[in-house]
């Protein structure tokens, strides 16, 4: 038991250390790319809460990215609100809309919820274009870059600063999510996912918890969308289309929905898979997404995260046995 804890905290500390020193060994553009990885990881963490823990499907999380992105963009452009205020507001706005969608989702199950959220993803860009006066239509909104705070001037680049802000937030969300999923709340979600009737019989209010999961998940997606908008310094309707929503789901499934590490792996996939695939053929990313989704659902439903964990476990067991024999 104690060994297991040491190992778990040890691996977390190792990854955290790696993330902390990485920007100093890679070019500035690398830090920029890894900021996106962090943002996507936060978004996928939301899908792990929603789909992995509570068993509800969303093919429309790009819409919450849009709410987050446009919240920081518009608050900055129209009212001059600084990011440290607008970022929490992005989470709040997205979370509230998520709670609302969660109430609707209570009436939809499985494939119907998937279709409804898919429709949301499809409708997002045109909705943003429609309200021109507020959103600037297809032109989008330009964001000011995140300034490096005074004391750190000259020490790190703006790209590195955004990188550290993003990964600090990611770290906080990973920790908070891990605690929450191991509390009464997380167990209630898991119980509803596995057997709703039994969960209800033991006092789990299905409406309350399913709605909470939607709001919670959407808040993460809002933060992720805000970070992407700040990093890009631009929020435009077409960035939040169905492609983003499907990329997030693919990243979540490939990374693994039942371990938080899956979000990290999923973030890497969402950022880098299209870049690699484009070298083969411009149309390759969506084809690879499709094929990978089918293959993983059939052969590796736990995703890369679960597979890595089992591989490490079996390696350790074998190592342990040899140790015992010698």
């Amino acid at each position: 038991m104690r060994d297991e804890r040491v190992r778990r905290y040890g691996s977390v500390a190792l990854v955290a250390l790696l993330i902390a020193v990485l920007p100093h060994f890679i070019p500035s553009y690398g830090a920029f790319e890894l900021t996106y990885v962090g943002a996507y990881a936060i978004g996928i963490l939301g899908l792990i809460v929603l789909t992995g823990a509570s068993g509800q499907i969303s093919l429309g999380h790009g819409a919450f990215f849009a709410i987050g992105g446009y919240t920081v963009a518009l608050l900055g452009q129209k009212l001059g609100v600084p990011y440290w205020i607008s970022l929490p507001l992005a989470a709040l706005a997205s979370g509230v809309v998520g709670l609302g969608l969660g109430l609707v989702a209570l009436r939809l199950e499985g494939i119907y919820l998937a279709l409804a959220t898919f429709a949301l993803a499809v409708a997002t860009p045109s909705t943003l274009k429609h309200f021109k006066a507020l959103t600037g239509g297809s032109q989008g909104v330009v964001l000011s870059p995140l300034a490096v705070p005074g004391p750190l001037h000259g020490l790190i680049t703006p790209e590195q600063w955004l990188y550290y802000v993003t990964w600090t937030l990611a770290g906080v969300f990973f920790f908070a999510t891990s605690l929450a999923l191991h509390s009464r709340l997380g167990r209630a979600l898991h119980a509803l996912r596995d057997n709703e009737i039994a969960a209800v019989s033991f006092g789990v209010n299905p409406h309350r918890y399913k709605t909470i999961a939607f709001g919670w998940s959407a808040a993460y997606a809002g933060v992720a969308g805000a970070i992407v908008a700040i990093a890009t310094a631009y929020a435009s309707p077409d960035a939040y289309g169905i492609a983003l929503s499907l990329a997030l789901v693919t990243g979540a499934v490939l990374g693994g929905l039942d371990t938080l590490w899956g979000a990290l792996i999923g973030g890497v996939i969402v950022e880098f898979l299209p870049l690699w695939a484009q070298n083969i053929n411009p149309a390759a990313p969506s084809v690879i997404y499709g094929i990978a989704l089918i293959l993983f659902t059939i052969f590796l439903p736990g995703g890369i995260g679960r597979a890595l964990q089992s591989a490490l476990n079996s390696l350790r067991l074998r190592g342990g046995n040899q140790h015992a024999r010698s």
Partner: protein, 246 residues
């Protein structure tokens, strides 16, 4: 002794089929009651009405004077009513311990409670597992456990709810002969150690007759007998229902 549970004129029909017709009975606090009857008599339907999974067409269910039919299904656990299921309804992807901790759900003060390794719920869940001899499988996922063990995990989950009223739906089905003998002991011990009032739907007559203070017999959705085990076994209506005498 005062009645903990009062079922009055309970009726429910599914389409044209009357599953229960004017069923009334009382269960005294601290008693173990058997609810028996031939297949299709309405035993599980009766359980599902009491636990609010089904909405009765008419009738009342009073628990300690409180009308349960006015409550939502998820509110019953807080009144300390717990149950097991005929077809074992566990949370398959969770460990034994986490399954039992869901049983503790309504006793936690808040949603963020229970993440520490030494919280009250965890201590009590482990104590319950120890009580039922399941401590060794606390960290095992329940999916791979043998059927008899899964039924005991369900029982542990119900006990974690600290039930005043415990409804057991066919606890002996699928168990081996030895397991049934030990189950009889477990049921009696639970009634004594947890102060729980128990109602048990069961086909295993020897088990029902040996542990029950009181037996209620249903046939074709109607109550046909309601007495001590010895009296029920002599009741001509019960014998007819079971043997189908013309």
């Amino acid at each position: 002794m005062p009645a903990l549970l009062e079922v009055r004129d309970l009726s429910i029909h599914f389409g044209g089929i009357a599953a229960l017709t004017d069923v009334s009975f009382e269960v005294a606090e601290g008693h173990i009651s058997g609810l028996i009857g031939p297949n299709g008599a309405g035993k599980t339907t009766c359980f599902n009405c009491i636990t609010r999974l089904y909405q009765p067409s008419s009738g009342r269910v009073l628990f300690s004077g409180d009308d349960l039919l006015q409550r939502a299904p998820h509110e019953l656990a807080a009144k300390r009513i717990a149950r097991t299921f005929q077809n074992v309804a566990l949370f398959d992807r969770l460990t034994t311990l986490d399954n039992v901790l869901v049983g503790y759900h309504s006793r936690y003060a808040s949603d963020v409670a229970g993440w520490r390794r030494d919280d009250a719920g965890r201590r009590e869940a482990l104590a319950v597992l120890d009580y039922l001899g399941l401590l060794g499988i606390a960290d095992r996922p329940v999916r791979g456990l043998p059927f008899g063990t899964r039924k005991m995990v369900e029982l542990a989950r119900a006990l974690a709810a600290s039930p005043r009223l415990l409804l057991l739906d066919e606890p002996a089905s699928g168990l081996s002969a030895e397991e049934v003998v030990s189950l009889a002991g477990v049921v009696k011990r639970i009634a004594r150690d947890f102060g729980a009032t128990i109602i048990m739907v069961e086909h295993h007559m020897q088990l029902v007759m040996s542990v029950s203070d009181h037996v209620i017999v249903l046939a074709s959705g109607r109550k046909i007998a309601d007495a001590t085990p010895a009296a029920v076994q002599r009741d001509p209506a019960v014998i007819e229902a079971y043997l189908g005498a013309a």
